[in-house]
């Protein structure tokens, strides 16, 4: 018996939790999703040992691709340290025996809930998104039969009308997250509820992006170097969120910030949502307002 087989026999359940038939089914769905960028492939989503809404889709995708040589990073709203991220990371440490990390650059698979890391991803990395509602048209057209027809015919006028109505009502496109994108010039896609700040990072990313929606039973993908264009109008071009202040801890200006309430007298700070990016910058000597505003010594 090889060492591998011995470890296998000692394990109370299959490698990476899912049974092999389920993995094959999900793997085939992933391959078709890659071949048809932006198209939502239906798959037979399984019950997972966590409730829907906690990332069952992303977990099933990760479980189907992960191997012992992978290094896994899990983030929840940019943070490596929140409950969802910690428990999913532990789940794969236990069931797949993989190394885990919080460093974006060290990871081969990054499972994410609603953020894309600030550090640009590289070739060979896989970003797995947890998706609640994969259908970008769902809140405009509740019938699956109709939205499927719209995708079949690339008939996306409804979404343009919705964005136009935003402009008519608010003077601008009011969507700040879940901002619809066109993938490869063909499929309208929901980037999952990432802030629209992250949309430009998807465009022609060298990393493979996989999306798993467990409750809605859909898998979709954006291969590397694929066009991902946020919908807009010539006279109302797409713009990312802007922040008035830099990060209070690391002084970064070009990143997505979370607002943190500090006391009950209106005190607040804005701080990097990407904890790894913030920690790396602080380790490099960058200081924000709350830490003394020093710039690194030359």
């Amino acid at each position: 018996m090889s060492a591998n087989a011995a470890a296998e026999a000692a394990r109370p359940y299959n490698y990476a939790y899912l049974d092999e038939q389920t993995k094959r089914m999900i793997r085939r769905a992933i391959l078709k999703a890659i071949a048809i960028p932006g198209y939502q492939v239906p798959f037979a989503s399984r019950e997972m040992p966590m409730p829907y809404g906690w990332g069952t889709g992303g977990v099933q995708v990760t479980a189907s691709i992960i191997g012992p040589s992978d290094v896994l990073k899990v983030i929840d709203q940019g943070s490596d340290d929140t409950t969802n991220a910690v428990s999913i990371r532990k789940f794969f440490e236990k069931t797949a025996g993989v190394a885990v990390t919080t460093a974006t650059t060290a990871a081969s698979i990054i499972q994410t809930r609603h953020r894309i890391p600030e550090t640009p991803l590289g070739a060979g990395q896989v970003l797995v998104y947890q998706v609640p509602i994969p259908e970008p048209l769902r809140f405009l057209e509740p019938r699956e039969t109709e939205t499927r027809k719209m995708h079949a015919l690339a008939e996306y006028g409804l979404m343009h009308v919705k964005l136009y109505e935003d402009i008519a009502k608010h003077g601008r496109i009011a969507k700040t997250y879940d901002y619809p994108v066109m993938v490869g010039g063909r499929y309208l896609m929901d980037p999952s509820p990432t802030p629209k700040f992250d949309n430009p990072k998807m465009h022609r990313s060298p990393a493979l992006q996989l999306f798993g929606a467990g409750r809605e039973k859909r898998i979709y993908a954006v291969p590397p170097h694929t066009d991902v264009v946020s919908l807009d109008f010539d006279d109302h071009p797409f713009e990312v969120n802007k922040f008035d202040k830099p990060c209070a801890l690391c002084g970064a200006t070009d990143v997505y910030l979370d607002e943190v309430i500090l006391d009950d007298r209106g005190g607040r700070m804005f701080v990097c949502s990407d904890t790894d990016n913030c920690e790396t910058r602080r380790a490099d000597g960058h200081r924000g307002e709350l830490l003394g505003n020093e710039e690194p010594r030359a």
Binding site: R24, R27, K32, P37, R186, P206, P223, H225
Partner: protein, 214 residues
């Protein structure tokens, strides 16, 4: 029937470590389809252990053993259609071997010189373009080609930073035109996994293909 007689007709062994080796094969195929034009190699430690019946190459066998099961009918081209291959695949994968290319999830093409069209395979529907055939095409040479009947292609599209150049063959003279027609049907169409026995090249339907001269 004595046990010895059962051994005599039993198919050859499949993957030695199905769980871990399937994962390796899948990740290689996933990388190949995500980056068309780049050859991704299966480790020698894996292909070296596979003893599939002729004419299936170790890589093609590994792909089917990793991805096919009772949900995926397999079509065999004329060169691959023999009792040993059928017994090997139906025993290890549990797949039904089908005569109809149009209902196959996977198609094994052992002799691509007779593959002149792709429209007999399932292209999926506009509503469900994923319900389409994946062709596993065995070629003699992959990468730098010189041989008679091989093609050199220039690839663009998803997964390719700028342009990729790749050759393989020998294949049927009509295949490049068939691949262009396949791209024109997008999002319907078939996806190709081209293999020379160890290396794997993905040609998903999203890839635009032009032939280059020698």
């Amino acid at each position: 029937m004595p046990v010895e007689a059962l051994f005599a007709i039993s198919p050859r062994p499949g993957l030695a470590d199905p769980v871990m080796q399937s994962q390796t094969v899948f990740r290689t195929v996933m990388a190949a389809l995500a980056e068309p034009g780049t050859i991704h190699a299966l480790p020698e430690t894996l292909t070296g252990t596979i003893d599939a019946p002729a004419p299936i190459t170790p890589a093609a066998a590994a792909i089917l053993l990793a991805l096919a099961d009772y949900e995926t009918p397999i079509f065999l081209d004329e060169a691959a259609r023999n009792a040993d291959v059928g017994a090997f695949l139906s025993f290890h994968c549990g797949s039904r071997i089908t005569d109809s290319a149009g209902e196959a999830s996977f198609a094994l093409i052992a002799d691509p010189t007779s593959l002149d069209r792709l429209d007999a395979f399932a292209p999926g529907t506009l509503d469900y373009p994923d319900r389409s055939t994946t062709l596993i095409v065995q070629v003699a040479e992959l990468g730098d080609v010189s041989g008679e009947g091989s093609v050199r292609l220039r690839l663009t599209g998803p997964g390719i930073a700028d342009t990729a150049r790749i050759g393989f063959g020998p294949v049927n003279a009509g295949l490049v035109a068939a691949l262009a027609d396949n791209r024109a049907r997008f999002p319907q169409g078939v996806d190709l996994i081209v293999t020379d026995g160890a290396g794997i090249l993905g040609l998903p339907r999203s890839t635009r293909i032009e032939e280059e001269g020698f």
